[in-house]
């Protein structure tokens, strides 16, 4: 495997000074797809997207075309909601897409709305992303003024509106049903699926498609070049190009658009034009392949291709495309505690196991780090984890409505399985060390990772 020379799809304007303006966008082929689509039927657009085999880029990787097909026929109004509440630690690709090429997203929204026959779309942007909000708003105003959004778009007779909405600072709103709750003006708390599958009962209990920013940013290219061209990139199972946000202990952290399935983690982390290798000549200890909630990967996983199926099979996920690299200096217990703290802080408070459990887990980890750990804590960590995510398996089961609670279990399971001696060292060096229990395998009940 190697870094491929596949064409960039959605980052082509990142380096242009005026890529975010309507003039710059139109000069580089912008809104051509829209005009072309308006001359054909919504079904044609839907067919191209289906043919592209475009997997959702938000985390779950569900094929966009298939999702669009779930909308019940003839139920109106129906809505398109754009999930721009990018909050997964280490993930910052959607922000760049909104900051540097907002018209591309708007065109994607228009095309998707046209395809699913939605008359109104909502772009929900994370509250903290001030620059993205401003640029998106500016771009949308330009598009409205140019007749590209609103009434009688580009003289086609087709009309639709796009509404911008800023979040108020909650990770959980990245979960689609919580995002819908928030968009309706309530606390961002997830709804149970079923019955609240957005495609059936979504925004205002009407059929709703929720798509990630990156997913929709791909649509103009797909419409312009055809679904087959997109499907021709990458592999049959993982088609197209994808953004990966690389961070952690690498020389060149950043967002990279690479071909799926043909590029490996090693390419991403080590290739000079990409990550450039571990910083300061260090060695890899572990890396998170797809956002903080993903089980950790190690040296032996480096040559896995960036493909959903392969990573799933290996016991983790590509998730939101956030690859976090940890070198040999990393304290696994601290890293684990840091991630659990994030989830405890972001728990919405709805489901008891997540609300109480994630904080408890963090408290136990803090105690271990502070030298107050007990031998029984290792078993306790796992049993509390088990009460949030029964079996501590992958993909996770859950006693909660949404996967946030189980997300806090992933790093604990990963760190305990791989770096248990580090936990034990904290306990042994602490104030409650006592005699190390003999013959107790706290991991016995945990499914092998």
């Amino acid at each position: 495997m190697a870094v491929t020379d596949a064409p960039k799809i959605i980052t082509t304007r990142f380096d242009l000074d005026d890529g975010r303006t309507l003039a710059g966008y139109e000069r580089t082929g912008g809104y051509e797809s829209l005009r072309a689509a308006l001359a054909s039927s919504p079904a044609d657009v839907l067919a191209e997207v289906k043919a592209a085999n475009l997997q959702g880029r938000g985390g779950a990787g569900f094929p966009a075309g298939t999702k669009w097909g779930f909308l019940p026929a003839d139920v109106h109004p129906r809505y398109l909601v754009v999930n721009g509440d990018e909050s997964e630690p280490g993930t910052y690709k959607d922000r760049l897409l909104m900051e540097r090429d907002p018209h591309q997203l708007i065109e994607g929204v228009l095309l998707a709305s046209y395809a699913v026959e939605a008359k109104q779309a909502f772009i929900y942007v994370r509250g903290e992303m001030a620059v993205a909000q401003e640029r998106l708003a500016t771009a949308l105003n330009e598009a409205y003024a140019a007749g590209l959004v609103g009434r009688d778009i580009a003289g086609s007779g087709w009309s639709m509106d796009v509404v911008l909405h800023w979040g108020a600072g909650a990770y959980i709103v990245g979960e689609e049903t919580a995002l819908i709750e928030s968009l309706e003006g309530r606390r961002g708390m997830p709804r149970l699926k079923p019955p609240f599958f957005p495609a059936v009962k979504g925004l205002y209990l009407q059929p709703t498609i929720v798509n990630n920013v990156e997913t929709l940013a791909n649509i103009p290219w797909i419409v312009r070049n055809g679904g087959a061209a997109f499907a021709g990139l990458g592999t049959e199972e993982s088609a197209g190009m994808r953004l990966f946000a690389l961070s952690g202990h690498v020389r060149n952290p950043g967002v990279y658009e690479v071909e799926m399935g043909r590029t490996t983690f090693r390419d991403l982390i080590e290739a000079p034009v990409l990550g450039g290798g571990i910083r300061d000549g260090g060695t890899l200890k572990a890396f998170i392949p797809g956002g903080a909630s993903a089980p950790w990967f190690y040296e032996e996983h480096l040559d896995l291709p960036l493909s959903k199926a392969t990573v799933d099979k290996a016991g983790s996920m590509l998730g939101s495309g956030a690859v976090v690299v940890m070198d040999h200096t990393t304290d696994a217990v601290k890293a684990c505690a840091r991630i659990v703290r994030f989830f405890a802080h972001e728990s919405c408070g709805k489901c008891t196991p997540c609300r109480e459990g994630t904080t408890w887990l963090h408290q136990i980890l803090q105690r271990i780090l502070a030298g107050d750990g007990r031998w029984s804590d290792l078993e306790l960590l796992l049993d509390v984890s088990d009460n949030i995510s029964p079996g501590i398996a992958w993909p996770p089961r859950q006693t909660t409505i949404c996967p946030l609670g189980p997300s806090a279990v992933s790093p604990i399971a990963s760190a305990l399985r791989r770096f248990r001696p580090e936990f034990e060292a904290y306990i042994e060096g602490g104030r409650h060390a006592g005699a190390r229990p003999v013959g107790v395998d706290v991991l016995a009940g945990v499914a092998a990772g």
């Binding site: 019955p195 408070g349 009460n387 859950q398």
Partner: protein
């Protein structure tokens, strides 16, 4: 339900290996419970939308894709579903949730109100581990913080189940408490500076599954295991909410709502929930008082009763029976009311009886109009509101109507003089000038044509009204106008929309029972007019007055003129409670001999010659009747203070001292006599009142019974000659020369809300294992009203009343009723000519509206310390444009004059009050409205003037406002 094998309407699910039939759409947790498997839960509540928040009810559910943990409170049953409530995975998950809930829950059960009846405590005791694995510091918050004057919040105990917050938002429509913060720091709290001032806040305490929400009146009062309880019916207003009355050491300490389907669904308003404080108030009368040398002094019952008997007999002998009058009775149980009705008619010999104090509707309208149930109103499709602010006067009816609007698409059309608590929920809300609701109704029924002013609004409302029958909620919107106009409006609606039924919105506790028992002039027990029932009751009772008597206004007017020599105030306080205080003062003062039977030394009682202490709610049994006419039981829980007695006993004792034997010695004997003699109550035997069927309350024969023979009903209303005299009293709205009764009355009732109701009846009956009963109901009754179990019962009783053998008094027990005499027919409403309209108003005057608020200066509220403070002094509410016209700003002190008096008060701007109208809440602290009202006039006009000095204050403050920006 054996026949249902043909078409399978249920779904089969397997719960722990057992096959169970469930209703499609039913939630798993409910289906399992019906089948005898209780799944533990905290957040689930059957009267609210499920949220799946606490996760306690998660069980392994297999719908064909393998077992997965699912919250059973959110999963509807599906055919073939397999559920394991006892599998290892289920148990582990549930135990885990319990542990999570406990880690931060303080172990202060010994000092927690909930300890001993706490679901969390019970679950933990039953399933929880004996020891905690949690060694960290628990969450800490300041111990209870007040959410309002009535409810405290202990956030440490809260398990965040979302019950209280859902209730306040979903059920009460008062979204005043909410989750604050996130994750582990989530707490329930109010919005800053905005207390949980909801009329329904106490319900959140009742449904809280832990001791997080605490009611100030109950806090630290008792431990659950010390409590003793009876099931009873609230009489704080006329809705008739079922509730448990709980006592400790012979003092009532708590009321809890009981979920009965036709009425209150488990909810109570805070007034009904907390008014028990008045029972043990220090001001309770505990002994009789008699007036000696201008002073009330303590006396023995014997002495006091002798004084009363002599005083009344003397008055009767010297001035005739028509010089005696009995006012009040809405506080009494049905049995009390019946005995007093019998005493007044047969012993005192007077028909001057009135349970309403000029604040209600004519008995002929309440009893004679075809009646609706609450369920029928909620299922009606369209409800016309003609009356008071339901949220203020009948709060739980407000909850039911709100639920029907929000969740079932009920359409409300409101005709009111000002905005009300329901206005926001209406499809159309039309304003009328005081006294002109009949004109507005005519315009509405005419499709908005010929309307003064904004005819478009009326036309739109008319379109919403449609052509079919509706349910009309009927009451008095304002005490500053006579009821003529609203009665005329009701008559017009009934004529134009045959089949329309009416739900009374009279608010006094048992006013409907009192009217049923004949505590109204011209009306005898069993919803019979004096004329129709004279012979029948003369047989049963010995004698009945010849002429129709006076109502409250008439009585007080007569007393003021020196024509009332003996006045009994039966729990009535005209000085505080009659709309026209001047008339009340002259009346009570002018009556020769006044007896007050009351629980407190009210202003009127202070003027009495004899005061007798009465037992009140909670201290006596019997039955009560709600605004639907539904009869349910009252039960005694505590003993009355001192020597306070039950009203019927006082009546029996008094009769005996006046030489008469009423022949009644127990509540059951009284009820048996009512059942025998009162035509509307035939068939409602003591035995039936003891069955489980009676727990929901029993409906007597519908007033709007169908005339199967189609015989034109004859006039049954009283038609005494002196129409003009009656009109002068402002109460007799059914003068003799009216058109004949609507023939439509007899035909239109066949199309009530039907199918759904009977299905409900079947399922309810099934739930009680009483299918046979339903079959019985169906048999031999014309399928007329067809609205559910309640109607089914009504029909039975109706059929019985109409000529079945038990409908005739057996004569046994009481001497008299002649063999074979048919029982008199019940009252039918006859439409009178519409009043000619209110007097013209001059351009300087404004027309007064005076409605009530839940918390007022009334006895119950003022003697309940927790509630008393909630009755705030009310300003005059004026449309901002009218204020502006007078050069006033909101908050200015003004002078308000009516024909009665001139008062100085504060005026506030209120857009909910239309121009030309001013609103002043009745019976608020300060008690101003009654001073202005002339009850003998159709409307009350007032003039509003600036106060010289205060207009300066006003202009100064407005200058301040403008300079302050």
């Amino acid at each position: 339900m054996a026949e249902q094998t043909e078409v399978k309407t249920t779904v089969s699910i397997t719960i722990d290996g057992r096959t169970v039939e469930a209703q499609p759409g039913e939630l798993l947790i409910a289906a399992a419970e019906r089948a005898g498997t209780y799944i533990p839960r905290f957040c689930y509540h059957p009267r609210m939308e499920p949220v799946g928040m606490c996760r306690m009810c998660i069980v392994e559910v297999d719908t064909g894709r393998g077992p997965a943990l699912q919250p059973s409170c959110m999963i509807p049953v599906a055919d073939g579903m397999t559920v394991s409530t006892e599998s290892e995975v289920t148990k582990k998950a549930q135990d885990g949730v319990l542990e999570f809930l406990l880690i931060n829950h303080p172990l202060d059960c010994p000092v927690c109100d909930k300890g001993g009846e706490c679901p969390l405590q019970d679950q933990t005791l039953a399933f929880g581990p004996g020891e905690s694995r949690f060694v960290e510091e628990k969450r800490h918050y300041a111990k209870p913080i007040p959410l309002s004057d009535l409810v405290y919040m202990d956030r440490e105990r809260c398990i965040l189940c979302d019950r209280c917050t859902r209730f306040s938002t979903e059920v009460a429509g008062d979204p005043l408490i909410t989750f604050v913060n996130r994750g582990n720091a989530t707490e329930v709290n109010t919005f800053p500076d905005d207390p949980f001032a909801s009329y329904f806040s106490g319900n959140t305490v009742q449904i809280c599954p832990v001791g997080a929400l605490l009611a100030r009146p109950y806090r630290f009062k008792a431990r659950p295991w010390d409590l003793d309880q009876v099931e009873s019916t609230c009489t704080a207003c006329a809705v008739g909410c079922r509730m448990a009355v709980q006592s400790s050491s012979d003092a009532v300490v708590r009321h809890l709502g009981i979920d009965v389907d036709p009425v209150n669904w488990g909810w109570l308003c805070d007034k009904g929930r907390f008014d028990f404080e008045a029972l043990s108030d220090e001001g309770r009368l505990t002994t009789p008082f008699v007036r000696r040398e201008d002073e009330l002094v303590e006396a023995s019952w014997s002495e006091a009763l002798t004084r009363v008997a002599e005083g009344l007999a003397d008055a009767r002998d010297r001035h005739g029976a028509a010089s005696l009058a009995v006012l009040g009775g809405a506080r009494l149980a049905n049995e009390d009311a019946y005995v007093w009705s019998k005493l007044a008619r047969s012993v005192l010999g007077t028909d001057n009886v009135d349970a309403q104090l000029g604040d209600g509707l004519p008995a002929e309208a309440v009893l004679g109009l075809p009646r609706a149930t609450i369920d029928a109103a909620c299922a009606a499709g369209t409800v016309v509101l003609l009356g008071p602010d339901i949220k203020e006067e009948l709060p739980v009816l407000y909850l039911r109507l709100r639920d029907a609007v929000v969740h079932k698409g009920l359409r409300l059309i409101e005709l009111s003089p000002t905005e009300t608590g329901l206005t926001r929920l209406t499809a159309a809300s039309l304003r009328h000038r005081p006294g002109e609701v009949a004109q507005l109704m005519d315009a509405l029924l005419a499709g908005g044509r010929g309307t003064r002013g904004d005819g478009v609004e009326v036309a739109e409302a008319a379109a919403l009204l449609g052509d079919g029958p509706v349910v009309c909620v009927l009451g008095r919107a304002s005490l500053a106008e006579s009821p003529d106009s609203v009665v005329a409006a009701a008559g017009a609606l009934l004529e134009a929309r045959p089949g329309t039924t009416f739900l009374s919105a009279l608010r006094r506790g048992n006013v409907h029972g009192a009217l049923d028992m004949g505590l109204a002039p011209g009306v005898l027990p069993g919803r019979v007019s004096l004329d129709d029932g004279r012979a029948w009751f003369a047989d049963a009772w010995g004698s009945v007055p010849e002429a129709r008597g006076l109502d409250a206004t008439g009585t007080l007017s007569a007393a003021a003129a020196g024509r009332i020599s003996g006045l009994v105030l039966l729990g009535a306080d005209p000085l505080a409670d009659f709309p026209d205080r001047d008339l009340a003062r002259r009346g009570v003062g002018g009556a020769g001999f006044v007896v007050a039977i009351d629980a407190f030394l009210t202003p009127s009682a202070q003027q009495a010659d004899v005061v007798l202490p009465a037992a009140v709610f909670g201290e006596r049994g019997g039955t009560t009747t709600n605004l639907e006419g539904r009869i349910s039981r009252l039960n005694q829980k505590v003993t009355a203070p001192g020597s306070a007695r039950v009203d019927w006993m006082i009546a029996v004792e008094l009769a005996s001292r006046m030489g008469a034997d009423l022949g009644l010695e127990s509540l059951e004997e009284i009820w048996d006599e009512i059942e025998r003699i009162a035509p509307s109550h035939a068939g409602l035997t003591s035995d039936r009142l003891r069955t489980s069927e009676a727990l929901d309350g029993l409906l007597p024969a519908a007033t709007a019974d169908v005339e199967t023979e189609g015989a034109p009903p004859t006039m049954s209303q009283v038609d005494e000659p002196g129409t003009s005299a009656a009109a002068a009293q402002g109460t007799d709205h059914l003068p003799g020369n009216v058109q004949t009764e609507e023939s439509s009355l007899g035909t239109g009732t066949g199309s009530g809300p039907g199918a759904e109701g009977s299905e409900g009846a079947a399922s309810m009956a099934a739930a009680f294992g009483a299918e046979a009963d339903v079959a019985d109901y169906g048999e031999g009754t014309t399928p007329a009203e067809g609205g559910g179990e309640a109607e089914a019962i009504a029909l039975t009783a109706d059929a019985v009343a109409q000529g079945a053998s038990v409908g005739e008094p057996s004569g046994g027990g009481t001497e008299g009723a002649s063999e074979g005499a048919a029982s008199p027919r019940t009252i039918r409403f006859a439409r009178s000519a519409a009043p000619s309209g209110p007097p013209k108003i001059d351009s300087y005057s404004l027309r007064l509206v005076s409605g009530r608020k839940l918390y007022d200066a009334g006895t119950l509220v003022q003697h309940s310390p927790s509630l008393a403070g909630l009755a705030a002094a009310a300003p005059l509410r004026v449309n901002p444009a009218d204020l502006h016209r007078l050069g006033l700003t909101s908050g200015a002190r003004i002078r308000l004059s009516s024909s009665r008096t001139t008062l100085v008060m504060v005026a506030e701007a209120d857009l909910g009050v239309p121009r030309g109208t001013v609103a002043l809440t009745f019976n608020q602290v300060g008690q101003l409205a009654a001073d202005l009202i002339d009850a003998t006039m159709a409307v009350t006009d007032v003039r509003l003037e600036t106060l010289a000095e205060t207009s300066r204050v006003g202009s100064r403050s407005s200058r301040r406002e403008s300079s302050g920006g």
